[in-house]
């Protein structure tokens, strides 16, 4: 509790708390009513929309991880990360569709899709490592604003590369993932949503295992907590930070390919909007927390899905408004994010 509230009269503190409680209960009641009524009206549509939301959420989660990993280790909000995702999408269009000519769902094209997934991940990982090496590393001990502005600059550079590479107009193409859907018990499931969800979940599991269970992962967490102490353990801090950028980049590359394959269009400016939503996911979950990024991504995806797709609701044109309203509300009541740590550590 801050000193101002501590010195304020007790009664006003309690009134404030009470108001907070009441408003949380009210918001929860509205949300539950909204979801409940839609579910009862049309349970199959509710579930279909939920699945689409989950698949969008999976993409947000993959991108959000890149923000959260980098923030966790060097406390930099990497504004260029959304544009890295964009380059992943553009790369996968050029490699898979243009170079390999993979259009339509054939066994050969699925194999090529798998190959492109790996290459897109390697491409974005390498790019992210190079960006850190050239732009951020020398600013590591500079005041926080310097790397932040640099990240904005890198974002423009990447967008420019995307513009030169892909052209100024969006490019439409035939995807390998089928744009059709199938029906289970009346619930419509788009094939590409299923593909994205089933590709994303193993990636998330691998990443979380790597960070939490391996020696390199432990080195990352140590570096995040205290760089000099990590050096005293024999950890190569620069290499560890590069590895974090590589991991974040790989996730963005995977998201880029899946995005391109699910919508069948790429443009040089998709990084801004998706990056912003993914960043919001990371903040919602508690920036710096891996599980938070995943949770935040899926939550925003599902909320957006419900908002856009349910018959009884604000509808698609309110999509961004709803997402950011949720973010603002959460920041007011829980500034550290859903899974973030609000308390400072004992030193």
């Amino acid at each position: 509790m801050t000193s101002t509230t501590a010195s304020a009269p007790r009664a006003s503190v309690n009134v404030g708390k009470l108001l907070t409680r009441i408003s949380i209960v009210l918001i929860a009641a509205v949300v539950i009513y909204w979801l409940g009524r839609n579910f009862l009206d049309s349970p199959t549509q509710f579930l279909s929309v939920g699945i689409t939301g989950l698949s969008n959420g999976a993409l947000y989660a993959l991108i959000a991880l890149g923000y959260t990993l980098v923030y966790g280790i060097i406390e930099l909000i990497n504004f260029a990360h959304g544009d890295l995702f964009m380059l992943g999408a553009v790369f996968s269009y050029f490699f898979l569709t243009s170079f390999l000519g993979a259009e339509g769902a054939t066994p050969r094209n699925y194999a090529m899709l798998g190959l492109t997934l790996v290459l897109a991940m390697v491409f974005c990982a390498t790019l992210n490592v190079v960006i850190e090496r050239l732009a951020y590393r020398r600013l590591r001990d500079a005041p926080k604003l310097a790397p932040l502005i640099t990240a904005v600059g890198v974002s423009f550079v990447l967008q420019f590369i995307g513009l030169k590479w892909n052209g100024s107009a969006p490019r439409n193409f035939t995807t390998v993932l089928p744009q059709t859907s199938f029906t289970v018990a009346g619930v419509v499931v788009p094939w590409n949503a299923l593909a994205i969800i089933s590709l994303t979940i193993p990636l998330l599991l691998v990443l979380v295992t790597l960070v939490n269970k391996t020696k390199q992962g432990r080195a990352m967490r140590a570096t995040a907590q205290d760089k000099d102490a990590a050096r005293l353990m024999g950890i190569d801090v620069n290499k560890t930070i590069s590895l974090v950028f590589a991991l974040g980049g790989a996730m963005a590359g995977a998201a880029g390919l899946m995005f391109a394959q699910s919508v069948g269009t790429v443009a040089y400016n998709i990084g801004f909007q998706l990056g912003l939503i993914a960043f919001t996911s990371a903040v919602l979950g508690g920036v710096g927390n891996l599980y938070g990024a995943v949770l935040g991504g899926f939550l925003i995806g599902v909320i957006q899905g419900f908002n856009d797709g349910l018959p009884f609701g604000p509808g698609q044109k309110w999509s961004q408004t709803v997402v950011f309203t949720i973010l603002i509300l959460l920041m007011v009541y829980k500034p550290a994010g859903l899974l973030g740590k609000a308390t400072t550590e004992k030193v």
Binding site: R218, A219, A222, D228, A229, R231, L232, D236, V237, K346
Partner: protein, 245 residues
């Protein structure tokens, strides 16, 4: 009991070391030596440049000029992790344990470069025998432990790296008097097991009592050096550095 200084080979040698923070010179033209098997202590009042010296030896700071060699190899200018690989571990000032990790994970990080699992296990047991308190708290988040417990962890963690030379920056800071004695006994035990020690201590009298050789720093300069026993008996030293402790 104490090693004769001239007999053992030089392990660490610092020559003409100057370290600066921007325009502020913290250490100037420092020369010192640590010989194999010794406990060497570096004493001096607050801000004398002791921690700066140790941080530079461990590669956390780059010297402005001068040279540091460890077992005959130049280590000044090398990154910190390579210096650890050479066999030099430090328990830094202010503990610097990893607060969001458990005691166990902190210890395992201390052995980050160690490959021999059996040896890691044996060292872990040795550390936990030296500090039974750590065994009781093995799964606790290190940041939630008391200052004294964290200090034990910092020393134990540095031991996990199988150092040939163990650097301790104020290992008794924040400890209750009875635990201070335990720490000093522990340092002697570590030395008896074959590890050479470079020790910085606020508690200069206690440090001189267990050390073989001592260097006295004053505002970044070497003021004097000599056998620890002789310095401990020197009334001028006692008046300047040992009073109040």
């Amino acid at each position: 009991m104490s090693t004769e200084r001239t007999n053992s080979p030089v392990m660490l040698s610092v020559s003409d070391l100057t370290v600066a923070y921007g325009a502020i010179t913290a250490v100037q033209n420092l020369n010192l030596e640590v010989r194999q098997g010794e406990i060497v202590t570096l004493i001096g009042s607050n801000g004398a440049g002791k921690s700066t010296t140790l941080r530079t030896i461990s590669g956390l700071l780059k010297p402005k000029s001068g040279q540091i060699t460890f077992e005959g190899e130049t280590i000044s200018g090398k990154p910190g992790h390579e210096i650890v690989k050479a066999g030099l571990c430090q328990s830094p000032e202010g503990r610097r344990i990893f607060p969001r990790m458990s005691v166990d994970e902190n210890l395992e990080l201390g052995a980050f470069l160690q490959k021999d699992q059996e040896l890691i296990k044996a060292t872990r047991e040795r550390v936990l025998d030296l500090f039974p308190r750590l065994r009781e708290r093995i799964d606790q988040k290190a940041g939630t432990m008391s200052g004294g417990e964290q200090q034990m962890l910092a020393v134990g963690r540095a031991m996990m790296g199988q150092p040939k030379l163990l650097i301790l920056d104020e290992p008794s800071m924040g400890l209750a008097p009875v635990l201070v004695d335990v720490i000093f006994e522990t340092i002697e035990k570590i030395r008896e097991s074959g590890t050479t020690i470079l020790l910085v201590e606020q508690n200069a009298l206690a440090a001189l009592r267990i050390a073989d050789y001592a260097y006295v720093l004053e505002s970044g300069h070497l003021k004097l050096e000599g056998y620890a026993k002789e310095l401990a008996d020197d009334p001028a030293i006692a008046a300047a550095y040992l009073g109040g402790h």
